[in-house]
């Protein structure tokens, strides 16, 4: 029973991490002595909106066994573009940002797919270049966004605990789940991540799928950045690696493996919500900041343990020795 669950980590990992974090959030009144309010939930969802779109883009590329490090650069560029071009019309700013993000993603996807380049160094180069471009656009300074109407609108409370920003982020996950679940795209994506050569032989148009994937990932990251800078009423040219690392944590808790071929949008949603809830739990219970880092580290170590084939073999060997059933010894790696 347990073995069967562990063999399906794309469901087990997000379900378990979301359950643990949700129970912990519900239990916070015992530590803080105050009731959990709708305000707390709303804050947690705002945190989810902040990293959700980047996590979704990164997660989709990771299912196909690619790693799009540049999302954190596109995130910064999208925020800066939206602030600089969306002074009179917020919608125009978002469109410019998303268009630029999609174009950058398409170029990278084209390079990676056509030349069969490894994605990590390519997207690292793009990330550094985009960071430079964003900084050059603003002279290295934060830019204030003066359209206060847009700032109020994106964060206005809807349905007690939501805002247009968090609802839009949720909608992106729902659309991704419907598209990947309802068409053959989802299976193709996992096939590309699991065994690219076999996918190609089976008739999957790998190149086209990869270009599309990086385009979507770039567009989502730029959208996330644009909405964030509207919300903050300013754009920061360099936010460091933190958004990328947190998104990677969300994706990994979402049951996606860096070995590729595994993962579902609904799992990514659970992962992103888990990360946002952890930050909120630490805020509510007034734990010191470093406990967030230690919690992420502990959760990731569980993911590492589940994902490491060598560790599984070692456990199997120990078990085999304990029960002296040699059949376990030849468990496939």
């Amino acid at each position: 029973m347990i073995r069967r669950l562990i063999s399906r980590p794309e469901r087990l990992v997000p379900a378990a991490s979301f359950l643990v974090v949700a129970v912990a959030l519900a239990a916070t009144p015992a530590m803080s002595g105050e009731r959990l309010t709708t305000f707390d939930i709303r804050n947690a969802l705002q945190g989810f909106a902040q990293l959700g779109l980047v996590a979704l883009g990164l997660g989709l590329t990771m299912i196909a066994r690619e790693f799009d490090l540049s999302v954190v650069g596109t995130y910064a560029l999208g925020g800066m573009l939206a602030v600089q071009t969306g002074k009179s019309s917020a919608v125009l700013g978002v469109l410019v940002a998303v268009g630029a993000g999609a174009a950058i993603g398409a170029v990278q996807g084209g390079l990676i797919a056509r030349l069969r380049l490894p994605s990590l160094p390519v997207t690292l180069g793009t990330y550094i270049a985009l960071l430079g471009l964003t900084s050059a656009m603003s002279g290295g300074l934060s830019k204030t966004y003066t359209n206060s109407g847009a700032t109020e609108w994106v964060d206005r409370t809807v349905l007690v605990v939501f805002s247009p920003r968090s609802l839009g982020t949720l909608a992106a996950f729902v659309i991704a789940a419907l598209v990947l679940g309802g068409t053959k795209l989802g299976r193709e994506l996992r096939a590309i991540g699991g065994d690219r050569r076999a996918a190609r032989v089976a008739g999957v148009r790998v190149e086209r799928a990869l270009v599309g994937l990086f385009t979507v990932s770039g567009a989502l990251a730029a959208l996330g950045g644009a909405l964030l800078s509207y919300s903050y009423a300013s754009a920061n040219p360099n936010q460091g690696l933190q958004p990328l690392i947190l998104s990677a944590v969300a994706v990994l808790l979402g049951g996606v493996s860096l070995a590729g071929g595994r993962g579902l949008p609904i799992g990514l949603l659970a992962g992103a919500l888990s990360v946002a809830f952890i930050a909120q739990i630490v805020a509510i219970t007034a734990l010191p900041d470093y406990s967030t880092e230690l919690l992420y580290a502990a959760l990731l170590m569980v993911v590492v343990a589940i994902d490491a084939p060598g560790l599984r073999q070692a456990v199997d060997r120990v078990k085999a020795r304990a029960t002296s059933t040699p059949s376990h010894q030849h468990h496939s790696p």
């Binding site: 790693f67 030349l115 390519v122 430079g132 699991g194 040219p237 470093y290 993911v303």
Partner: protein, 342 residues
């Protein structure tokens, strides 16, 4: 899914094994004598160097002793870490995202143990850096854990524990022994000599020692290395331990230079080191690369940044050029490695 995945990896590794190995030391005397068609990477590097020379000649003060010193000095701290990162990348573990945090923690340990004397503080810092990093290497080498996931986790753990112990405060030295590390014999910072010495040592180790040769083999084809009975786990741990010692040295020099250490000391060290290794032409998949070329990559990046700075370009534009340089070299290295197969 695991079986299919391992098949795929074996296939990929087998395909990689057929590639010519740039810088793998395979060139024979006869091969060297034959006229060779210039490779895209060679042309790219030649064009880049030529462009720097021309632009440098048109920039006042670029070709001066002082500026040469400035370039080398700015190479030192990133370069030392990049030498260690080269070993790990050659051995197939790609990258570590815990470098900044490790350097920060080592710097804090180094400064807070100054009372015990300089030698003890250095040894303690080196041992801590090497141990923490070797532990990650052990999980990767023996259990084939994914390096990116593991080092993200390690980065959180190291950063979290450091903030916990230091209380988030800046660490100031309790002694003055560290000041001798900030000296500049013959006008160059001590760190530059350490960098050059380390690069030579690492190059010698990679080419002449059993452990070094085995790092290439493991990075090139892990299943074959396992099948051949190479001590994969042990060699990966050695590569990571040396990487950790290099990170620790960077931390020590950063601490001596800044005379204090806070949580941001490591800065963008993780990615800067990877950029230097990549510009040096090491392939991210492992199995090829050289420490001296990484040194060249680090100097090239520093020289370009310096040139742009002298010509009055902003930090943003310097970053933009650096990113494009990484992209171009990565594409050129890849095209060279796969030429003939495509």
């Amino acid at each position: 899914m695991t079986a299919a995945n391992s098949d795929h990896r074996e296939a990929a590794a087998a395909a990689r094994a057929e590639e010519p190995r740039p810088g793998g030391g395979g060139a024979t005397a006869a091969g060297r004598l034959r006229w060779r068609r210039p490779e895209p990477l060679d042309i790219g590097i030649a064009v880049a160097v030529l462009a720097i020379v021309v632009a440098g000649a048109m920039t006042s003060r670029f070709f001066s002793l002082d500026n040469g010193r400035a370039i080398l000095a700015s190479t030192a701290s990133v370069g030392i870490t990049a030498i260690g990162a080269t070993l790990v990348m050659i051995a197939g573990s790609a990258v570590s995202l815990a470098v900044s945090q490790t350097a920060t923690v080592v710097a804090m340990i180094f400064l807070s143990t100054q009372r015990l004397g300089l030698t003890v503080a250095i040894v303690l810092a080196l041992v801590c850096g090497a141990a923490v990093t070797a532990l990650q290497g052990a999980i990767i080498g023996f259990w084939t854990a994914n390096p990116i996931v593991l080092t993200i986790a390690a980065g959180f753990a190291i950063g979290g524990v450091a903030t916990w112990i230091s209380g988030g405060a800046t660490v100031y030295p309790k002694g003055t022994g560290y000041k001798s590390l900030d000296s500049t014999p013959l006008g160059l910072p001590l760190a530059v000599y350490v960098l050059i010495g380390l690069a030579l040592l690492a190059e010698w180790m990679l080419r002449r020692t059993t452990a070094g040769r085995q790092m290439y083999l493991i990075g090139e084809n892990l299943p074959a290395a396992r099948a051949a009975g190479l001590p994969v786990g042990r060699i990966v741990v050695i590569a990571w331990a040396l990487f950790g010692a290099c990170i620790a040295l960077t931390g020590i020099f950063l601490a001596s230079f800044n005379t204090s250490a806070n949580a941001d000391l490591g800065g963008t060290l993780s990615l800067d080191a990877i950029a230097a290794v990549l510009v040096g032409g090491t392939a991210i998949g492992g199995g090829s690369g050289s420490a001296l070329r990484t040194l060249g990559g680090a100097v090239l990046i520093a020289a370009i940044s310096d040139l742009l700075l002298l010509r009055g370009f902003s930090t943003g534009l310097q970053l933009l050029v650096k990113g494009i340089l990484v992209l171009i070299v990565v594409i050129a290295v890849h095209l060279r490695a796969t030429r003939g197969r495509r």
